[in-house]
Amino acid sequence: MSRPPVESTPYRDVFREYAPASGAPAWREASRLAAFHRFHALGWPTRALEAWRRVDLAALDAVYSTPCEDCLESVDKKMLELYFLPHAESNRLVFVNGIYSSKFSQVKDVPEGAVVRDLPAAMKEREAIARPLLSFDEAESDAFAALNAFSFTDGALIHVPDGVEVKTPVHLLFVSVGHEDLPPAIYPRVVVSLGRGAKASVVANHVELTKDEHLTVSAADLRLGPDSKLDYTHVQRSEGSGTHFSSIRARLDERSTFDATSFTHGGALNRLDARVRFQGAGAAASLNGLTLLDGVSQSFVDAEADHAVPGCTSRQFFKSVLAGRARSEFSSLVHVRRGAEKSDSRQLNRNLILSAGAQAVTKPELKIFADDVQCAHGATVGQLQKEELFYLRSRGLSESVAKFVLTYGFAEEIVETIGDAELRGQLEALVRARLEDLVGGEDADRVVA
């Protein structure tokens, strides 16, 4: 799969001209073209747009390399094992800088009729399934989501037919590694399609194994059939200076249930654009998110629940813990359209500021065009409450332990919603270690969730 040479072109200018992907089937090329046109119609975001006003887009002026096949050689099992999930051991797909690694992957626990494949294989061997799932949604309104739809060459496809349950969670481990002189630009894509009454649990685990710069434009396209249930966890963990534009699109048919949790740690810039569209009555979606940042990391969450049909329930619960000069912004919209009676929504954003230089902006919004709805929203930005600290200290805990416990508990309220116990344990350990550095707490090991 090729693309025009980018080795000297700033990223902003790479997509001026349309270039077909060599080797892609004609139907894929058609969806690429549609995405390309949409991307051009939308244009690069600029700071003139409210949603992007505070987003530092300097990463778009850098020069990136194309995805590299040889990067696969630069990781070994030892580096990856830290992130493996024993419960999902038999359904693991590993991607290195966006490219599927058959060496580290194994898919052994998929019931009859279900498909869990890397995208190149799915496009080639399961065209009848892949083709409709990779069609471009022309209503896409986020430039980076369109850019992913145009640029992706790899990723994962999970298709579960009517009435089937994939019991073993599917673990998609996307690792990024350094790449010669130029930072890589990568485009992971996750496609999940659940038939009527189908069930699955998917972890999209993005881990940086390098402190070097790189750019990830990821997208997840999730389609939930009637009465289906999808647990989805999106992890973005970074120790370095990566830039991540992530989009999650979930379309929910009647009475389906979507439970999603996102976890973001570190990185130079993280933007998560998560949208839920209710297509059938009586569906329920819950989006939880935790952002843990220090240094000069930035995180932007743009969440939307589109209540287009009656009787659906949406929950958004996002928290951030901010230290150093970190910045977080939460924008959220619940849109209740005409006729979407009995809609029930809640938006809650809480930000815990641990240092004078950290900053949080929160903007939960509601647009309601129907009667008989229940919509609640709230937001807080602040430090640890003195009453809470006194309460813990009055039980004999030192001030630093009390601070640690409260901060950890603040984060844990989101982390504990992650279904996979092993992943939850890994992220709890990460949170604990970071908070020990940030707020102290010599007895930190005694806090067990």
Binding site: R395, G396, V405, F410, R446
Partner: protein
């Protein structure tokens, strides 16, 4: 055990306690009653060491040593426990883990071996019976989503676990229906011993039907205006605060 001498204290430059004195001996239960704003909660916070309150005059002695200048955790480790009027919700922190942290902080301070999760679980199950709490409670987040009665019971559970020398119950009866009140009071009564003491702060006499005090004090405008035995509480109930010259 507790000796408060001519205590003047307030918050944000507003004087609340204005010459409060009290002596509590081991084995005693003292009730402090008074109208809203008389300084009942301030007393409990000052004894427990809430840093928001400022002591401007007087002293508080516990087992002969001044508490002023000690951090709240130091006072807790000496054996002082405050059951909060409004217990704080701590989402994300497991009740059992929290109790074990507090318990072990106490044991470390006393030079005893820390309790591991299994030992502690057994110990906690015993204590749960004291307050007739469902074992399910200990696996929930501390006070998070608890009803008013559950929060108060959780306070008494903490008290049972920490086994304080001096417990101050700050309006533990407020917001409780009669059944919850009875359960909480029974829990407290089970913890009464000749070598510990309690100060029960309440607005109403009702709680004192269940936790029978040795002494009753009426607090008004920051100082004790009258002291007596349990009959004082009944008299107060009948005649209202007016009879002691308090509005």
């Amino acid at each position: 055990m507790l000796k408060v001498v001519d205590l003047h204290a307030g918050i944000e430059n507003r004087p609340i306690l204005k010459g409060f004195s009290l002596e509590v001996k081991p084995g005693e239960v003292h009730a402090i009653m008074g109208p809203n704003g008389s300084g009942k909660s301030t007393l409990s916070k000052v004894v427990a060491g809430d840093p928001h309150y400022e002591v401007t005059k007087g002293d508080v002695f516990f087992e002969g040593k001044s508490l002023l200048g000690l951090e709240p955790e130091e006072r807790a480790l000496l054996g002082i426990f405050l059951a909060f009027q409004y217990p704080v919700e701590i989402p994300g922190v497991n009740n059992a883990s929290f109790l074990r942290m507090a318990y072990n902080a106490r044991r470390r301070h006393a030079g005893q071996k820390e309790s591991d999760p299994l030992e502690f679980d057994e110990f906690l199950r015993e204590k749960l019976k004291t307050v007739q709490m469902n074992p399910g409670f200990i696996n929930r987040s501390v006070n998070h989503g608890f009803s008013g009665g559950e929060k108060k019971r959780n306070e008494i559970l903490q008290m049972a676990v920490l086994d304080p020398k001096l417990a101050i119950l700050d309006e533990t009866d407020s917001g409780l229906d009669i059944d919850a009140l009875r359960i909480v009071a029974e829990g407290v009564n089970r913890l009464r011993r000749p070598d510990n003491a309690m100060v029960v702060i309440t607005h109403y006499q009702r709680l004192l039907d269940y936790i029978v005090p040795d002494k009753v004090h009426i607090l008004a405008d920051g100082r004790i205006v009258r002291s007596g035995d349990k009959s004082l509480a009944l008299e107060l109930e009948k005649k209202g605060y007016d009879f002691v010259g308090v509005k």
